[in-house]
C-alpha cells in the first residue's frame, strides 16, 4: 500500500508540532506562547500542504483540508488558551469544523446533531458553569488570571507523552489500515425494500407508476439491491426501472438509513442511553442540592469579606449624617 507521507517526514513534523505545543501551553511568565502556537501551526500547515501537493492538480476535496485545519487549530487553542471562556468558544469552533468533516463523510444527520447537541446544549452548560465558578473581579480592578489558569502543569512531559502516542497511532495507521476488508455490497439502497410506501409514493408522484401497477424492490441473495421493478397487477408486463431514471428522492437518504440502523438494529441500546441520561439528570440534581460545608480557610475568607462589606457600608453611612441608619 502507499504511504501518504514519508514516515521520517511525518515523525519530523510530529516532533515539530510537539515542540510548538509544549511552548504554546500557558506558563507563569508571559512570553513565547505565541511563538509556540506559530510553530505548531507551521508543523500542521506543512503537513497539510504536503498532503495537498501530493493530491496533485485535482484537489480531490479541498474542504477536507480546510475543515481539518480549522478543527485542529481550534483544538490547539482549546488546550492552550489561558481563559476558560475562550477555550470553550474555541471548542465550539472545533465542533463546527468537525460537523463539516461529517458532511464530507455524507453523515448529514450526525453533522446537524453535533451542532445542535454539542454546540447548542453541552457547551452552553460549560459556559454557564465557567461563569458560575469564576470569581468576579472587584470593581475598578484589572482582571487577573488565576494561577492555575495561567500556568500549565508539566507541559513538556505531557506533550512528550501525547506526541509519542500520536507517533505510535500514526504508525499503526500508515501500516495496517488499508488491509481492512471493504464491504462488497452497498446495503443502503436495499433499505428501500423496507419502505414500500415511500417507493410507491415517490414513483407515483413522478408518474412512473400508474394505477393498476405495483412497485417491487428485489434484493440479491447477499442483501444488496438488485432492481426496482414495476409490474402490472395481473402479473404481466414486468420491467425493472433503471437507476438513471430514478427520481432524485428515491435513493435512501442518510437520515432514513440511520433511523433504520438505530431503531431496528440497536433498539436495546437506545433504552440504555435513556437510562444513562435519566441517571445523569438525577445525579446532577442530587449533587447540586447538597449543602456545602465550607472548610476553615473558606469560612475565614467569607467572614472577612462580609465584615469588609459591613465596614464599608458603615463608612458611607457615617459620611452622610442625615441618612437614616
Amino acid at each position: 500500500m502507499d504511504t501518504i507521507l514519508n514516515p521520517f517526514l511525518l515523525y519530523g513534523l510530529i516532533a515539530l508540532g510537539a515542540v510548538g505545543v509544549a511552548i504554546a501551553l500557558p506558563r507563569r511568565k508571559a512570553g513565547p506562547q505565541i511563538f509556540g502556537t506559530i510553530i505548531a501551526a507551521t508543523a500542521g500547515g506543512i503537513g497539510i500542504a504536503l498532503l495537498t501537493l501530493k493530491a496533485g492538480k485535482d484537489f480531490p476535496n479541498v474542504y477536507f483540508y480546510i475543515f481539518s485545519a480549522i478543527a485542529l487549530g481550534a483544538a490547539l487553542r482549546v488546550i492552550t488558551h489561558p481563559r476558560p471562556v475562550y477555550a470553550a468558544l474555541y471548542f465550539i469552533l472545533t465542533i463546527i469544523a468537525t460537523a463539516g468533516l461529517f458532511l464530507i463523510l455524507s453523515a448529514e444527520f450526525m453533522a446537524f446533531a453535533l451542532v445542535i447537541v454539542y454546540a447548542g446544549a453541552i457547551l452552553i452548560t460549560y459556559l454557564f458553569v465557567i461563569m458560575l465558578a469564576t470569581q468576579a473581579p472587584e470593581e475598578d480592578e484589572i482582571e487577573v488570571l488565576t494561577e492555575y489558569d495561567s500556568s500549565a502543569r508539566e507541559p513538556i512531559a505531557a506533550t512528550v507523552v501525547g506526541f509519542v502516542l500520536l507517533a505510535v497511532l500514526t504508525t499503526m495507521l500508515f501500516r495496517g489500515v488499508d488491509h481492512l476488508p471493504v464491504t462488497p455490497v452497498d446495503r443502503t439502497d436495499a433499505l428501500l425494500a423496507d419502505m414500500p410506501r415511500k417507493v410507491d409514493r415517490v414513483l407515483r408522484n413522478h408518474g412512473l407508476l400508474e394505477d393498476g401497477q405495483t412497485a417491487n424492490v428485489i434484493l440479491t441473495d447477499d442483501g444488496g439491491l438488485e432492481a426496482v421493478q414495476i409490474a402490472a397487477n395481473d402479473g404481466a408486463d414486468v420491467y425493472a426501472l433503471p437507476r438513471e431514471q430514478w427520481p432524485a428522492e428515491l435513493p435512501v437518504k442518510n437520515i432514513e438509513a440511520l433511523g433504520f440502523n438505530l431503531l431496528r438494529d440497536h433498539p436495546g441500546t437506545i433504552e440504555i442511553a435513556g437510562v444513562i441520561l435519566l441517571m445523569a439528570m438525577l445525579g446532577a440534581v442530587v449533587l447540586s442540592r447538597k449543602q456545602v460545608q465550607l472548610d476553615e480557610d473558606a469560612k475565614l475568607k467569607q467572614a472577612r469579606m462580609l465584615s469588609d462589606e459591613v465596614e464599608g457600608n458603615e463608612g458611607t453611612a457615617a459620611a452622610q449624617p442625615g441618612a437614616t441608619v
Binding site: 501518504i4 501537493l53 488546550i79 477555550a87 506526541f163 500520536l166 444513562i276 447538597k290
Partner: protein, 117 residues
C-alpha cells in the same frame, strides 16, 4: 518541473488521488492527542472536562470515517451514543465541579491532592 515531480524524484510515492480513510484517522488521532495533552497539563477542572469532550470528538470522527469506509451506518449510530454519554458526563461532571468550587473557592485540580489515597 512542478512540485509534485520534484517530490516524486526525492523518493515520495505517487500523488494520492482521493482522501483516504487514513487522512480522517490522522485528524482523529491528532485531535485525541491534543485532548490528552490538555487533560494532563491543564490545571483548571473545567478545561480538563473540556479536553475529555475533545477526545470524544476525535473518537466520533474515527467512528464516522470507519462507518463510511465500510458503508455501514452503525458507526454513525454509535456517535449518537457517544453524544449521549458526553451529555451525561457533562451534567454529572459539571455538577461535581460546582460542588468542589463552592467548597474551596478554586478550580485548581491540585487543591484536591488531599483526596489521594
Amino acid at each position: 518541473m512542478n512540485a509534485t515531480e520534484l517530490l516524486a524524484q526525492t523518493g515520495f510515492p505517487a500523488p494520492m488521488a482521493t482522501i483516504t480513510l487514513a487522512h480522517y484517522l490522522f485528524v482523529s488521532a491528532a485531535m485525541f492527542v491534543l485532548g490528552i495533552i490538555g487533560f494532563i497539563s491543564r490545571r483548571n477542572l473545567i478545561i480538563m472536562f473540556l479536553c475529555t469532550e475533545l477526545m470524544f470528538q476525535a473518537a466520533g470522527i474515527a467512528l464516522v470515517a470507519f462507518g463510511r469506509y465500510h458503508l455501514d451506518f452503525t458507526g454513525q449510530t454509535f456517535v449518537i451514543f457517544v453524544l449521549t454519554v458526553a451529555a451525561a458526563e457533562a451534567a454529572m461532571g459539571l455538577a461535581l465541579v460546582v460542588l468542589l468550587f463552592r467548597r474551596k473557592e478554586s478550580l485548581d485540580a491540585q487543591v484536591w491532592t488531599d483526596m489521594k489515597g
